[in-house]
Amino acid sequence: MEEPDEITTEFLVESYENLDQLDQELVALETTPGDTERIASIFRTIHTIKGTSGFLGFAELERVAHVGENLLSRLRDGVLALDEARTTVLLRMVDAVRTILGEIERNGSEGDARYDDLVADLERLQDPDATDAPAAPPPPKPKSNAAAAASPGGGAGPPNVSDSSIRVDVGLLDELMNLVGELVLARNQILQHAAGTDDTTFVSTTQRLSLITTELQEGLMKTRMQPIGHVWNKFPRVVRDLALTCDKQVHIKMEGNETELDRTILEAIKDPLTHVVRNAIDHGIETPAARVAAGKDATGSLSMRAYHEGGQVNIEISDDGAGVDLARVKAKAIGQGLISEERAQRMSDRELAMCIFMPGFSTAAQVTSVSGRGVGMDVVRTNIEKIGGVVDIVNRPGRGMTLKIKIPLTLAIIPALVVGSGGERFAIPQVNLLELVRLEGTAAASAVETIHGIPVYRLRGHLLPLAYLGEQLGMSPTARADGDHRPALNIVVLQADDRSFGLVVDEVFDTEEIVVKPLGPEIKKLSTYAGTTIMGDGRVALILDVLGIAKRARIVAEGHARGGDDPPAALPEDKRAPTRTMLLFRAGLEGRLAVPLDLVSRLEEVSEDRIERAGGHHVVQYRGGIMPLIDVRASLGLPAPADPEPLRQVIVHARGDRAMGLVVDTIVDIVEDHVDIERIGGAPGRVGSAVIQGHVTDLVDVRGLIERVDPTFFREDAA
């Protein structure tokens, strides 16, 4: 005895349902023989059964359904009229189909029964003249009817699959989910109330209620779950077609088809996954010739794996192709102006590999029908992040790559950190949360530094831009100020896009499971909120949209393309240079200079008398070591101002435990703008010029200046 597999089970459920309807329809048809719509509907049902049974390899079922279909098609086309004999034979066919299905359900195969008589009758009645049934057909009819009647009604055998599963309207499930959400909220309220009483009966009943609610929530969540196989099953075909188009040989392997996900999430990952698969075949897996030359099997392999881990679903898509060619990615990303040369030099291999997710990035030399339009991978990441997921790459140059996607099981109820600001509470989705920093007393007072009005905090040596929640939401504009008498400073370190930033809040409460409720249209237009929720005390709290807050605080560029809202196709046409955050400063009398902020590790002030000379260079004692100084004014050959300031501004560029200081006169501002670098004249010490905030600004070649002083500074082994 063999258990039917999942596809077969599904086929059985569906077929049983359709057959029940067929019985009624055929009988009804006898009274209204001209109802072509009804015949067409019966035809479709039998056609479906025929198709699927052929696909699943049930030959006898297919044969019966096939001749039945032929007869039905002639009835449908009006060539034949339905009479009693034909109705009878069609009902016999339905019975036969049901018997075979029952056999399949019990044994996993059709069994040995043959329906030659039935097939012969079905064929014979296709002849318009053969209206009168001969003596032969009637006898088998009661027999097969009896056999069929015995199985559903008799209770002798195990129940049909259709008896143990029902179809439920998705809308009803959504509604139930809402109700359970309400129940969770009510439960939270009661729990809070119970915490403050001594009534033991009440407390224990509350605990039971809490437990039941959790189980109900989990149970209902399960009903909305569908196996990822629903989405994956189409991939073998996609892979085959694509491989043919690209002249490649690809073998697909899938694991964890039964891994279940909430249906809304399943819907959301469908397109991104398809894109990843296409990408792997088009870019990842090499042509058979190239593979053989590289000592690999001519057939590439693509493996997809899905599994549950820690309340999340992991999806891994690996290929054994060429992997991400980092040198090419670097060249392309710089060539397309997505990252600067300096930045590229300092990026780790992993960071470089992640460049393929940048908007507008494409390494394909040619735009093909498959890919190369540069609108793909960033949309993949955007869509995954939209549902609270994360994407990561494991690159094995020459041996392939693995794309790892982590997504939550559901969107309806999410873990969130509850914070307070301006007397109100806000929820921050946990997926955006990196860490919490709490500073007390004097540490709080001196922790926040400002670079020309922009507050920053040194988090393990890196400058973390800060945003004050109260101020960003316009609630308490005076709350800011570094030295005010606030007892503690709470920094919630968050991830928005690729940047991390610190959100300063008044209070940090707890993490809680919150039920996400949508915003009304009056509030939806505010990008700072992602939704609302109801807290344990019954009050409404707003859920913060971390990216929206970051944009508002100008930590992430406003115009940054984030898929979704913008049509992706518009991206390549956007000829605007990418936005970058630049530090503007002055050195000497001449115009404005700038360096990218990501090359700035720290800003320091040094008084003239602390500058010493060592080894032919100006140096300063800095953090227990010696930091060489580069006078930007002298290096760029700029005239000195008449009365130099005694206090010099130093832009520190640190690399490992080494640091270099660029001495400038005044720091002007930090701006974020579209930076389109043009090389003019090739003046020494400059990368080029760009228009920043409407002014022509020279971009200082930090790397070049530093190498002039210390040629080994950027070598890997020296770092």
Binding site: E182, E424, G474, G520, I523, T528, Y529, L542
Partner: protein
């Protein structure tokens, strides 16, 4: 033809909204303010698990602020995108009014309350201004 109106007071004016559009009328509820939102949006109310946006009708109609000692009442309207509450001074009765007493709003009334009031019912002792809820909500969404 008669029509039923749910009535309320706002300042010294008397308004009515189509009773079909009213989900319920409730006393003052605690609200969660929505920072950055238009001042017309007074906050969010938890109405038995349903999140309701509260609209300050005094602000919408550019009346002065409500006296500090008076708390607003909620006229909760049913809309396609969930419920919305109108914050008003005082709730009146549900009135069944005859179309015969209806008249298009005179220009002077429109001067005070804009085009949110298409018409007026002439009651025995006073006038009842008909508030067009669709237009009101649209005005809020556009704010």
């Amino acid at each position: 033809m008669t029509q039923q109106y749910c009535t309320f007071h706002l300042g010294d004016l008397f308004f009515g909204v189509d009773v079909q559009r009213v989900q319920e009328v409730i006393r003052y509820q605690e609200m969660t303010p929505v920072p950055l939102a238009d001042p017309v949006i007074q906050g969010l109310i938890n109405l038995r698990g349903q999140i309701v946006t509260a609209i300050e009708m005094r602000a919408q109609l550019a009346f002065g602020p409500r006296p500090a000692d008076r708390r607003p009442m909620n006229v909760v309207l049913r809309t396609e995108d969930g419920a919305v509450s109108l914050l008003v001074d005082e709730i009146g009765d549900v009135l069944e009014l005859d179309d015969a007493h209806y008249e298009r709003a005179p220009a002077t009334v429109r001067h005070v309350v804009g085009d949110l009031v298409p018409g007026v019912y002439k009651l025995e002792d006073r006038l009842m201004l008909v508030l067009d809820t669709d237009k009101t909500l649209k005005a809020v969404a556009a704010a």
